[in-house]
Amino acid sequence: MGRHGKQLAHLDELWEAGVRMFTDDGDVVADAGLMRQAMDYLATRGGVIAQHAVDPGLAAAGQIHEGAVSSLLGMSAIPAEAEEIIIARDLRLAELTGARYHVQHLSTAGGVEMIAAAKTRGLEVTAEVTPHHLAFDDSMVATTDPAYKVMPPLRSIEHMDALRAGLRDGTIDAVATDHAPHAAHDKDVPFEHAANGITGLEWAAAVVNTVAPLDPVSFYTRMAVAPAAIAGTPEHGRWVAVGNPAHLAVFDPAHEWVPERTVSRSSNTPYLGMALQGRVVATVYRGTITARDGSPAAVALTS
């Protein structure tokens, strides 16, 4: 409750209100006892517990991934193990309780490995990865450009490669943007004082298609079907079929281009100027075009 990780939220009321996915994202549920309670509570209902996995003791005041880059910069850093330890613990708790468990913004090779093993054992475990953890490694942080400051931090190339492979082989079920807009003055400061977060919702599909290309079925599954299934939003992520809701993104996988502007009101993004392959040509919500050629369409959405 209150994202403090001290006591359970009003899970029943939230469930009644339609919530199917529960998380303290932004913070970890560090207390294993509390995590077990939440899992026990939700296991029979079928909701999913999603974790922002980071051990607070190991992470301490860390700003970036612990490794060669952090050693050169002398900046306090977060080892991959900070994420892996929490995932390992939670997987044991998921096994104990039978709860559904989801790892948010997975960033480590060890995490990929453990999730693959848990799936083999038959646990109801899922994971997501962000476009930026697929696209960048921590060499981008060496310049201390605050555009690359994000949590979990961009990791070394071995981790990035493992995430790409995990997305390809299905260990990682979904791509989630972790889209985090910030005001310019929160990023136009030294790295250590900058806010965490990257925007990139509008290029997520293009970035994934560029750095970790998939066959069309897997691509649509990771980008739309799986996210909707994990979050329990049955109206979304449906295959194109007669009778299904017309929530569509029209994607041209062959289009090569370089984004030079963003339609977000924030510009804390590292993607401007990056060569991309593939482009969302239009989006459609309930049969109405909501964006076309990179610009939002002027439509009145009814609920």
């Binding site: 060669a68 952090s70 050169l72 002398g74 310049t143 201390t144 030294p190 250590e192």
Partner: protein, 305 residues
């Protein structure tokens, strides 16, 4: 050279030229009137966002010895307390008419940000635990004065390398100038990954002690949570301190350096600090000369000595 931010990417030629210039400024500083008009009419801003005594004074003395004017900034008396951002602060100072900016900041990379914002040379006077390149220059100058060259010298850097911008600057500068560098510290005070560094690492000072030509002792930064990185100060002294006993085992020509301020009795025994083979005060004196050299090079002063 547009800015002077790091020793990581400086070449041997650049470092050597700066040291050669510094040699001539050492001679200037020895004159009855220790001043040249090289930067007359130029204004140097010293922007110390983190408290400093020696480095700030040293830069200011260097600027004055080149006849530059100085604008001095310190955080306690500044608009920072009114919430002004770093960007607005440096742009404001630049708008008053400065020609170069000396920046110290507790945040890693801050001088690089400043260099993006302003349109004049930026000198890094220390950023976080990252870089302090003029310290490396003054250390190299001090060693070169004693040995004539750094080529082939064995230099041990001992202590809290993980949190030290001095160590990060020295490792690269010393190596570029031809020395063989060994970092000596307990694992908790070594950077976590130094595979690509041009230096060896050791946890045992006594093992490498007798090979060294230069022992560079880092300050124990008790304020950086000493308790969690080594068990106690006395244990540190026992394993890594330059005690009188260890000093007596050094080769007869081996010298001891320290960036200051010293913790006498912790990383260095008082007897060692006061010995002729301790070059600590030479380092301080050389700091002025190397900062003159960097300012002179960046501000393109005409040679009219």
């Amino acid at each position: 050279m547009n800015h002077f931010l790091s020793t990581e990417d400086t070449t041997r030629e650049e470092l050597t030229e700066l040291l050669d210039d510094a040699d001539s400024f050492v001679e200037v500083l020895d004159r009855p009137i220790p001043k040249v008009p090289a930067l007359r009419g130029k204004t140097v801003a010293t922007m110390f966002f983190e408290p400093s005594t020696r480095t700030k004074l040293s830069f200011e003395k260097a600027a004055k010895a080149l006849s530059a004017d100085i604008m001095s900034f310190s955080p306690s008396t500044s608009s920072l307390s009114k919430g002004e951002s770093l960007k607005d602060t440096v742009l404001t100072v630049q708008a008053m008419g400065t020609d170069a900016m000396v920046v110290r900041h507790q945040a890693t990379g801050a001088p690089w940000r400043v260099a993006e914002w302003v349109d004049q040379p930026v000198l890094n006077a220390g950023d976080g635990a990252h870089q302090h390149p003029t310290q490396a220059l003054l250390d190299a100058l001090t060693i070169r004065q004693r040995f004539g060259t750094l080529d082939g010298l064995r230099i041990g850097i001992v202590g809290d390398i993980r949190h030290s911008r001095v160590a990060r600057s020295d490792v690269f500068a010393f190596n570029t100038l031809g020395a063989e560098v060994t970092m000596v510290a307990p694992k908790t005070l070594l950077p976590t990954q130094t595979d690509g560094w041009p230096a060896k690492a050791s946890e045992d000072l006594d093992e490498v002690l007798t090979e060294l030509d230069v022992v560079y002792l880092l300050r124990v930064q008790a304020e950086r949570g000493g308790a969690s990185v080594f068990p106690s100060l006395s244990e540190y002294t026992t394993r890594y301190g330059m005690t009188v006993q260890r000093f007596s085992r050094l080769k007869p020509d081996t010298v001891v350096l320290h960036p200051g301020p010293m913790n006498r009795g912790v990383e260095i025994a008082a007897e060692v600090a006061d010995d002729d083979r301790s070059l600590i005060l030479e380092q301080v004196a050389n700091g002025v000369a190397v900062r003159m050299a960097v300012l002179f090079r960046l501000l393109g002063g005409e040679h009219d000595e």
